[in-house]
Amino acid sequence: MLGYLVRRLALAVVTIIAISILSFIIIQLPPGDFVTTYIATMSAGGATVSEAEVEALREQYGLNQPMIVQYLKWASQMLRGNFGMAMEWNRPVKDVIGDRLALTVVVSLAAVIFTWAVALPIGIYSAVKRYSIGDYIFTFIGFIGLAIPGFMLALIVMYVGFRYFNANIGGLFSPDLADAPWSWAKFKDMLAHLPIPAVVLGLSGTAQLIRIMRSNLLDELRKPYVMTARARGLPETRVILKYPVRVALNPFISTIGYLLPYIVSGSIIVSLVLSLPTVGPLLLKALIAQDMFLAGTIILLLGVMTVIGTFISDLLLMWVDPRIRLERR
């Protein structure tokens, strides 16, 4: 158990380092260092940057030193929670991202919950009632869900909502609450807006998960212990739910490691279409304005978030599966 935990934790740390290197490369990609870009943006906005300030910035990020030193300085700044300044806003990145990152987490989580809540019963149904009409219908819907990228689904949903319900279904808050401070009313408002993004984001993942659940459960149902349980006269629901489903559930949880990056990825682009106040639109804006510092930070934080989510799913797996818990190595 400890071995498993340590291995997973080590992998998570390595992944975070890999993401940080990638983010750093992305920040470094445009010509010139970001202090030059920073000065250019500042003076374009009418503000002047003093020579001393420039030197201080260069010193702080070690821009005169080799790449590896620069990376280490940048990384240590990140670790201390100092994410630098967002040029376009002229505010610390932390302030610009804060709320949006939290909302990204909320939207992604809602999508994961939707995915699980739908895929579990349908997967069980499809496996137990194999080749029934319901199975075919769900398989078909699943295929469609797989084929339509989230942002296209979002476009279609937006259009249908506008055309037939005459409502703008984008956004995560009602207009009058969007800028209001957090309150119970705002929270309830958000919950009311969550289902559409959750469904749009979760649909293709749901399709995949249904297929996984179906084939896993089918494998389990063929095993002799199921027949034994039946022969002993256990009621059918108990036969299915008590043992095979629990075993089949296993890969279900472990796939969250792949599901989460997928959903976070999708949320970026779906947020744009549905105008959700997540980090997605911010990232695009930063990239177009070549504010690579903000963009790199967002990419890094999204990656870290995903890794943490995956790690939590690993813990969950350990809790569900005694084979992992009792493993001794």
């Binding site: 992998l11 992944t15 084929a147 990228p149 990056p261 976070v264 990232l283 177009i288 995903t306």
Partner: protein, 375 residues
């Protein structure tokens, strides 16, 4: 008695046919049974015919813009006239609404414009070499760009149908190219991982695990946004292809590795080793042919993801940039609800994307089932 003999004879004939069939024939027979995959294969062939004959199918230059024809709605084609087959369209006139100042288009059922086939139009090079100006569709007695709008026009008054033809060409070839690069990486790294195992295997497996746990779209966006704005269309096309395939090879590598691992234990590989075959001969003469079909299936299944990646990036304005035309570039105009509300036909490119992705998935599924004909 006689009947029984006949039955016996036919079964042995059928059995003989199966036992004599080559692996390729067996795969084809099995693939043919998968009806959905067969239908999808036909769809894909049609798609790639569009790729080859895009300029022939387009009836106006996809770049020809005219503000006077901005956002024209799709125009219905009338197939019969007085009970006879004579495809035609009605003339459309643009005007400005005096109250709202919006452009409105009025059809004039009095002026009938007949459709013609295989007519002269804008010049192009068929297959990139043969200069010609023949097009599938044309009209008689009027300028084509002013009279035919099968799918309507975009904001700049460019014909959506003609643009869609060229977009299909870009999007479907970028998918193939990206998959080719991923395949190379996947076979190379998956092969090393599966054949040599040990440290190399562990490192490659960890790299794959890390790559798969990253949210790809933000990374793509970051890399794509860093491409210099001064690059030409071709350079951007290549760069985007490489970016997409750099993160997309992991699944292919996984399949290749799995195949290598199972094959290594097979008797005929051991036999080849004992006979003294060189390592490269074992890999390329014995192992590769026996998992080639699996690789083809996995490759087909990987193409849709590539197409969606390109479409997503271009949709965000970070992938291919105009004047390049791809499905994503076309959809970029349909990004906000205002545009959709006024001109829903801008969503048309969604249809080919979904069709192509579904078709590739079904064909890939069929191929995967057929890949192991002795199983």
């Amino acid at each position: 008695m006689v009947e029984q003999e006949i039955i016996e004879e036919t079964t042995t004939e059928a059995e003989e046919k199966i036992s004599l069939a080559t692996a390729g024939q067996l795969m084809w027979w099995r693939f043919r049974k998968h009806k959905l995959a067969m239908a999808s294969a036909v769809v894909l062939i049609l798609f790639y015919l569009v790729v080859i004959f895009a300029p022939f199918l387009a009836y106006v230059d996809p770049e020809l813009s005219e503000a006077q024809r901005s956002l024209m709605p799709p125009q219905p084609i009338h197939w019969f006239r007085d009970g006879r087959f004579e495809p035609h369209v009605y003339a459309v006139k643009g005007a400005r609404d005096p109250k709202t100042f919006k452009r409105v288009y009025v059809t004039d059922p009095e002026t009938i414009i007949p459709l013609r086939f295989f007519v002269h139009g804008f010049p192009y090079k068929l297959f990139g070499v043969i200069p010609t100006d023949r097009h599938l569709l044309g009209v008689e007695g009027a300028a084509i760009e002013e009279s035919l709008f099968i799918m309507g026009t975009d904001l700049n008054g460019r014909d959506l149908f003609s643009r869609l033809m060229f977009a299909t060409r870009t999007s479907l070839t970028i998918g193939l190219l990206a998959v080719a690069i991923s395949l190379f990486l996947g076979v190379l790294l998956g092969g090393i991982s599966g054949y040599f195992s040990g440290t190399a295997d562990i490192i490659i497996q960890r790299v794959i695990e890390i790559l798969r746990s990253l949210p790809t779209i933000p990374l793509w966006m970051g890399l794509a946004a860093a491409l210099p704005g001064s690059w030409s269309v071709q350079q951007v096309y290549l760069a985007i292809t490489v970016i997409i395939s750099l993160l997309g090879w992991t699944e292919l590598a996984r399949v290749v590795r799995g195949r290598f691992l199972t094959l290594r234990e097979e008797d005929f590989i051991t036999a080849a080793e004992l006979v003294g075959c060189s390592r490269s001969r074992i890999i390329f003469r014995h192992m590769v042919p026996s998992f080639l079909s699996h690789i083809i299936a996995a490759t087909t299944l990987a193409i849709p993801a590539m197409i969606i990646s390109e479409t997503s990036l271009s949709f965000l304005g970070l992938g291919l940039r105009p004047p390049a035309i791809s499905w994503g570039v076309l959809l970029e105009q349909a990004q906000n609800i205002q545009a959709l509300a006024i001109s829903p036909w801008l969503l048309t490119p969604v249809v080919p994307v979904i069709l192509a992705v579904l078709a590739f998935n079904f064909v890939g599924d069929g191929l995967r089932d057929a890949a192991d004909p002795y199983g």
